[in-house]
């Protein structure tokens, strides 16, 4: 399996790396982290807090933009440009192709995030920061952001297996936003105490990916330790959800007639 998934992943990574849009995005995110230093200087005493907050938010937002916008084109573009035809003529299964595309984009996002993390560290050193034990929570927060990317990428890939990038973007964004506010949606249901509404909001809460789980930015900014249970629970949560999406995507895509 890895013999076929690996090359597809690396090629996907190469495509992203050779795209100029990527560099603009990374540059923009780094600028934003830089700007955090300025904001931090204005608000005396909380430089560290502001830089970590803004820095992690920038990493998260730009990664999500990339995950969605590259993710929705992963499969669609290969079908539309018919580059997939000569690839699928090789001994590769369709699900291996999907997993390879997925892994490639995830690799791209991980490498990007690594660069931006270095940028964040540089900004923190600039304001006179020494690495402390409690700062491991920043790394954990970044790890959670990566898990979030893994989920969003899988969503985008799933939709791109059967619809246009435009609609895929819409669906992915819709589910992402629902997932971010899953807690609030549930709270609304609990608040109304209407059994029908409650049923719907509870169902939404447990079915959509609950992105709230992965938000550890404020914990990291305050230097609060992130419990180890949350670490592995989130890892497992993301792994399970990605498995569902890739499984469903494979089932859909394996049956699809290519134009």
């Amino acid at each position: 399996m890895s013999a076929t998934v690996g090359p597809v992943a690396i090629n996907t990574f190469r495509e992203a790396v050779r795209d100029r849009v990527l560099y603009n995005l990374v540059l923009f995110a780094l600028l934003m982290i830089g700007a955090a230093i300025l904001v931090g200087e204005i608000s005396i005493g909380i430089e560290r807090l502001v830089i970590i907050n803004l820095g992690l938010t920038a990493i998260s937002v730009f990664g999500l933009v990339m995950a969605i916008f590259i993710g929705v084109g992963l499969v669609y573009k290969e079908i539309e440009k018919r580059t997939l035809y000569s690839l699928l003529a090789k001994p590769i299964r369709r699900w291996e192709f999907l997993v390879g595309k997925y892994a490639g984009l995830l690799l791209t996002l991980a490498v990007n995030t690594a660069f931006m993390t270095l940028g964040l560290a540089a900004a923190l050193f600039y304001v006179g920061w020494r690495f402390e034990r409690s700062d491991t929570s920043i790394l954990v927060a970044i790890y959670f952001i990566l898990l979030e990317f893994a989920l969003v990428t899988a969503l985008a890939l799933f939709f791109s297996c059967f619809t246009t990038p435009m609609l895929s973007t819409l669906y992915t964004l819709g589910i992402y936003i629902t997932g971010v506010f899953a807690d609030d949606i549930r709270a609304v249901g609990d608040f109304t105490r209407n059994p029908a509404v409650l049923g719907v909001t509870r169902a939404i809460y447990y079915v959509v990916p609950n992105f709230h789980n992965f938000n550890a930015i404020s914990m990291a900014a305050h230097g609060n330790a992130i419990p180890f249970t949350l670490f592995w629970q989130n890892t497992l949560y993301a792994a399970l959800y990605v498995a569902v999406l890739l499984l469903a995507a494979s089932a859909v895509f394996s049956r699809r007639n290519l134009k």
Binding site: D19, R82, Y85, R255, L258
Partner: protein, 321 residues
Amino acid sequence: MNAMSTPAIEILGLTKDFPVGFWRPRMRRSLDSLSFQVDEGEVFGFLGPNGAGKTTTMKLLMGLIFPTSGTARVRGRSIDDVEMHREIGYLPEQPYFYDYLTARELLDYYARFSNYSAAERRERVEKFLERVGLAAAGDVQLRKFSKGMLQRAGIAQAILHDPPVVILDEPMSGLDPVGRREVRDIILELKKQGRTVFFSTHILSDAEMLCDRVAVLAGGKLQGVGAPGAIVAIKAPAMEILFEAREGRALPAGLAERATRIGGRCRVEVPEEGLYAALEQLRGCEARILSVSPVHPTLEDYFFRLVGGTAVSRGLEEISR
């Protein structure tokens, strides 16, 4: 079953319906219980006008689309078996590749799906770049490639892993005469190596020159399978005469109804054996002969007649033996 007797490609009642229409899709049959087989070591031409279903057949063989009914086997293996792809090379119609890669990177990428060592892979990539005449363009990004160069890159990736069966969808299209000639040479070389080549075309001369056998497809139905000579035989050679009729002189019966008028001039097409008789008739009415030239029926003409119906049905019976 004896290995020698296993056909390279067996097509068994392949049928494909496509949904047409946006709001209430209905199914339209694009391929109708197609059955024939391509033998090991043959160069086999797949002929038919545009929309006949050639590309559809090849995509079904490659597992890019799935049949409504029927199946096919390649060297005895079902087309659902992914291992079958180790033994087959495929050039899609109007191929397009990752345009951010160079030709060298593209071939290297595809070579990774066969189990070659890194050194073997490099060697192979160079060899096949050379073979399709892209050695000099190996480091150029594919986005800068012309249509002909893409076609060559496509052929290189199809034969890169030495597959015993090669499927080429319109391999000559988009190529200049030199390019066509090179593709013909490659096909003949593959044949010499004992490989099976199954290619589609609508250029009759290519088929005549290369193929051991051809299949003719029209409207999704097989019209016949046979040696290309059979097709050449049904090509009725004709002569075209351009002339100016003399004022006040009526054209003789038999010519008058067949002539078409273009301004003051007339054009008439006659069978080769009737040329002199026709010229005699024209002299009789003092027409001025402007030109006499042979009509080369294009394959399009041939297919037009084929689809149009009756004229060639005799020819068809001939080739379906």
